[in-house]
């Protein structure tokens, strides 16, 4: 099949403003969009720039806006995208070059949430025990690959970049609901703020965007409820 890729191009070293590059290519319907981008880079325009690594939706490198919604380029097939495909960088971050954006602020937010197990009680010699039910409690949020699709698709985040964003909360949830973690109080202090969970307006764009099918809003909702339980 033939598809046209409309890609937003911008290289601040050369361009005054972003422009649209149009590329017509032959491809298989079962090709990933990443394959199509690679084709353009390898055969039509070597300067096209984006991140990629694993090519099967596990490393989280190639999050971008595809036909107006945040997706991983390696996780959507051309047959689901139509004849003309628009590709833009993620919203809400500084564009460095073409589809590649500055993720530092995003990752700093993740790190600010103390995303590590906090324990005070002594370690047992072998493993800490945890029932399969307790393990299941936070299974969903362990899947996060920090791709940024959710935060960048969140209107509350566009409005105000001070919001820590859904990805950071998802990772806080992962520890908050881990029966082994003893850092609940510290973490709740971080989350119970204007820029923490309360900026989430349950818009669900994060859920729609998450390539790992994490129910992000639900996780945020559970954190809100946990704060409520703690404080009320």
């Amino acid at each position: 099949m033939q598809v046209t890729l409309k890609i937003q191009r911008y290289n601040p070293e050369k361009d005054k403003a972003p422009w649209w590059g149009e590329y017509k290519i032959e491809a298989e319907p079962t090709d990933r969009l990443l394959d199509a981008l690679n084709y353009v880079k390898w055969h039509l325009d070597g300067t096209l720039t984006y991140r990629r690594s694993c090519a099967h939706g596990i490393c989280g490198s190639d999050a971008m806006q595809i036909n107006g919604a945040n997706r991983l380029a390696c996780k959507v097939l051309l047959r689901n995208l139509g004849q003309v495909i628009t590709v833009e960088p993620l919203r809400g971050y500084k564009v460095i070059k073409d589809l590649l954006v500055d993720m530092d602020a995003f990752l700093a937010r993740y790190r600010s949430m103390k995303p590590f197990l906090i324990t005070h009680s002594p370690q047992p010699e072998k493993e800490r025990l945890q029932s399969p039910e307790d393990r299941e409690r936070f299974d969903d949020t362990t899947k996060c690959i920090l791709c940024g699709c959710c935060t960048s698709g969140c209107p509350s985040f566009w409005a105000n970049g001070e919001y820590v964003g859904p990805a950071a909360i998802v990772n806080a949830h992962r520890f908050l609901f881990d029966s082994r973690d003893e850092g609940t109080v510290e973490r709740i202090e971080l989350l119970n703020t204007v820029d923490g969970v309360w900026r989430c307006r349950t818009i669900f764009n994060c859920v729609e965007a998450c390539p790992r099918e994490i129910n992000v809003t639900r996780a945020i909702g559970e954190v809100k409820k946990a704060i409520l339980m703690q404080k009320v």
Binding site: R109, A159, E162, N192, V194
Partner: protein
Amino acid sequence: MGAAGSPRPESGIELWAWMFMRVSGVVLLFLALGHLLIMHLINNVDHIDFQFVAQRYATPFWRTYDLVMLWLALIHGTNGVRMVLVDYISPRGWRAASLASLYVVSFILLTLGSLAILTFQPPLMGP
């Protein structure tokens, strides 16, 4: 955002604001929709005049009803608009100024409305 990206510590007021939005929302659901039903559907603006209001305010029930609705709606709305302003206005000065104006306007109107409801003296029945 601080250098490490950690969120600013907060008094915890957001939690209460969040709770209030929901509780007041549920109460308003009945009050506001009831109000609309009575004022705009069962009666309609053609029938509403001084006389009509006077009749209603003859009983304390409607006064209380309106007073509670006024307070809840105004505080709910003010907090809602506060959220909107905090979303869109980041520079500290502008944010403080816009919030201050919002609070002042809301406070004045809250006083004005409450006085109107509480001090209204229905004239003796008659033409």
